[in-house]
């Protein structure tokens, strides 16, 4: 099985690249009948990705989330899954060309630097902590997809306001739908992050392996609060348009900055390096 790893680490970026090319081709060729290639290739890439992580899991005896590159790879897979779910639910394929490049880039970095087996970190040993990490990865992936939809919304909003009717205008779904896609992805992310926080807090209380004063915990709760407010504002206060989108983007930017800060400048008992 070990011999499969180099093959799969090479195959994965290739499959994502092919899927991206198919999405790009369908995007440029309006009314193209080859629309289905992108989603099928992406599904194939997702299946291979799951197989790859499973093989790694079997070989290493733990979830392959021990290094920052593993974390990136899992986030790429999560983004692809979230995107495919949104695509199937909304029946809109033209946004794939904006999501898949990120998945491809993340995977190519992960494949280039993170294909060596890693020893199991002490933190990942309890099963609850593994689930905590898995939920966090899925949450971050959903937030990333939500942020991409948010940016697409703002670009389309600006184009329509300025009477710019380019290919982008023609290929994008309605603004209202983009807004829904943004908030749905954010809601999914919020759900996973809630689970991740709950599991993390439960594990911390029982194990006593760290402290609640850890900056990563508080920054994550901050991110959770921002997204919770964005989702609440959309559903309760009827926030629509750029205001709701900016809220989600602030949440995602905070998430990114907090991860960088925790990994580079602050001391945390459970950071990935």
């Amino acid at each position: 099985m070990q011999s499969l790893i180099p093959l799969l680490t090479t195959l994965l970026p290739v499959l994502y690249a092919l899927s991206l090319a198919a999405y790009a081709r369908a995007y440029v060729r309006e009314g193209s009948t080859g629309d289905a290639w992108g989603p099928w290739l992406l599904r194939a890439a997702v299946l291979v990705h799951i197989f790859y992580l499973s093989v790694r899991g079997v070989l290493e005896g733990h979830l392959p989330l021990a290094s920052v590159y593993d974390f990136l790879s899992a986030t790429g897979l999560g983004m692809a899954c979230v995107y495919l779910y949104v695509e199937m639910r909304e029946g809109i394929r033209t946004t794939g060309v904006f999501v898949v490049p990120f998945v491809f880039l993340i995977q190519i970095v992960s494949s280039a630097y993170g294909n060596q087996p890693t020893s199991e970190p002490v933190l990942l040993r309890p099963i609850w902590f593994e689930f905590h990490t898995l939920n966090a990865v899925l949450g971050y992936s959903a937030f990333a997809v939500s942020a991409i939809y948010g940016v697409l919304f703002l670009l389309l909003y600006r184009d329509i306001k300025a009477n710019r009717f380019t290919l982008f205008f023609r290929r994008m779904p309605p603004l209202e739908v983009l807004g829904q896609m943004n908030i749905r992805a954010a809601s999914g992310g919020l759900l996973f992050l809630t689970l991740a926080i709950a599991m993390g807090v439960g594990w911390l209380r029982r194990s006593g392996a760290g402290t609640f004063s850890d900056p990563k915990i508080w920054l994550t709760i901050g991110v959770w609060a921002i997204f919770a407010f964005a989702v609440l504002a959309y559903h309760r206060f009827g926030w629509r348009g750029p205001r709701a989108i900016y809220m989600c983007l602030v949440g995602f930017t905070t998430l990114l900055l907090s991860r960088v800060a925790v990994d580079l400048f602050l001391h945390s008992f459970h950071s990935f390096r």
Binding site: N163, F169, P174, L175, R243
Partner: protein, 437 residues
């Protein structure tokens, strides 16, 4: 079928359209159903056409006829138009165009695909061709060739619409406005529209909005009577112009098309409405010249204000994209013309009889070969003679009847077509043709 028809389709198209005639002539020659039926009867009775069809719209009046026995069909059609519509085109120095197959077939396919329309790729022409088919069938003008031809024309039109972008994008300002509303709000079924004005443009906008599912309308107009007439189609609420600030927040889409000299909707009005709407997206379309809506309103967040210039840009872009699709549609037309002409050639009598008989003789030969071992060598010639004789006797009556098909016009063609279909004689056809059938 005459000998000439056996060799050629003898299918002519004679007419005029927006490219060859001014509006006043086209207008004067538009035929109603009764006139078209009369024209078809004249073509059959006096010109000896076996099949005839009239396509008469605001952009064209065209006569399609197969097997007409008159020497100069354009002259005959000229007389026909004078008789039915009272207009002598010859006296005005106006000439009709005339095409013989395959150009006549090609022309019909181009018309059905929207390539020959004044507004490139407009969809109404398909319905008009279908109406012409129905009318021809009702008045005895259709026959096996025109039926097949019109099926092919409609298939060509469908392919042009689904395989190319010839029908994509809005081609009028009002339609562009509705398209834009869909682009912002998505599904419009639960949205409310406020139409300001009661003129033609307002009516057109209402029709387009109704087409995409908008069901709740408010009309604000000075002329209450006209507004009520306009609103009667949708049980719209009619209000005065003074009530606009009151009804504005409740609308998701506002269409403004009045002839007022100044702004009818001003920025503070929109600002106040947005507060009540809790900032929900607001679509404002200003279809008036001079403008009805204060352009400052477009600065407000979530307010999308578009005037005729902006909508015109969408229309020009759509037309440009449609023009880029012409080569693809032309290729489809050529493919369909080739397919139709191939089908027509297959209806020639002699090859059909040869292939029909060959089909039976082949079966007899194969069966003799299969059972040869069961008979003594000295019995073989007798066996072959017996099989040949059975085939000859079986085929005698159908061959005689089939030979008579040549004299039975449309019925004969149908018989030939049925024999080819029944015995699978399609050696010239491609897989694509077979699928199309």
């Amino acid at each position: 079928m005459s000998k000439a028809a056996e060799a050629s389709l003898d299918f002519l198209c004679v007419g005029l359209n927006h490219e060859t005639s001014p509006l006043e002539i086209r207008d004067a020659l538009v035929m109603n159903e009764e006139e078209m039926e009369r024209a078809i009867h004249v073509l059959r009775d006096r010109a000896g056409a076996e099949e005839a069809l009239i396509l008469s719209t605001c952009n064209r009046t065209e006569v399609y006829a197969r097997g007409a026995s008159v020497a100069d069909l354009p002259l005959f059609v000229n007389d026909l138009l004078r008789e039915i519509k009272g207009m002598d085109l010859g006296a005005r120095g106006h000439r009709l165009y005339a095409y013989r197959e395959p150009d006549s077939v090609r022309h019909l396919f181009r018309v059905a695909s929207g390539l020959n329309s004044q507004v490139l790729g407009e969809p109404q022409i398909v319905g008009q061709v279908k109406d012409a088919v129905t009318l021809a069938a009702r008045s005895g003008g259709s026959g096996p060739v025109t039926e097949r031809l019109l099926d092919a024309a409609l298939r060509c039109a469908k392919r042009a619409r689904t395989e190319t972008g010839i029908g994509r994008g809005p081609i009028s300002s009002v339609y562009a406005a509705v398209n834009l509303a869909t682009k912002v709000l998505g599904h419009l079924g639960d949205k409310r529209a406020l139409v300001i004005g009661s003129g033609e443009m307002a009516g057109l906008a209402m029709s387009h909005l109704m087409d995409v599912g908008v069901g709740r309308f408010t009309i604000a107009a000075r002329n209450r009577e006209r507004a009520e007439l306009l609103g009667s189609r949708t049980s719209a609420r009619v209000v005065t112009m003074e009530a606009i600030p009151v009804v504005l927040p409740g609308a998701d889409i506002v269409i403004c098309a009045t002839s007022a000299p100044g702004f009818v909707v001003v920025e503070p009005m929109v600002r106040a409405a947005m507060k009540i709407r809790k900032n929900r997206p607001f679509l404002l379309f200003d279809l008036a010249v001079p403008r009805d809506i204060d352009p400052l309103a477009s600065k407000l967040p979530n307010v999308f204000l578009h005037d005729l210039d902006a909508l015109g840009a969408i229309v020009s872009q759509s037309l440009e994209q449609r023009r880029a699709e012409i080569p693809k549609v032309e290729a489809i037309v050529e493919e369909e013309v080739r397919r139709f002409m191939r089908w027509h050639r297959s209806l020639e009598l002699k090859p059909t009889i040869t292939e029909f008989r060959g089909y039976f003789e082949r079966i007899a030969r194969d069966e003799i070969e299969r059972h040869r071992g069961k008979f003594r060598p000295e019995d073989q010639p007798a066996l072959e003679a017996l099989a040949h004789s059975i085939v000859q006797k079986l085929l005698h009556r159908p061959t005689t009847r089939l030979n008579r098909a040549g004299e039975d016009g449309g019925t004969g063609l149908r018989r030939i077509d049925a024999v080819r279909e029944l015995f699978g004689i399609h050696e010239d056809e491609t897989d694509e043709d077979r699928n199309a059938r």
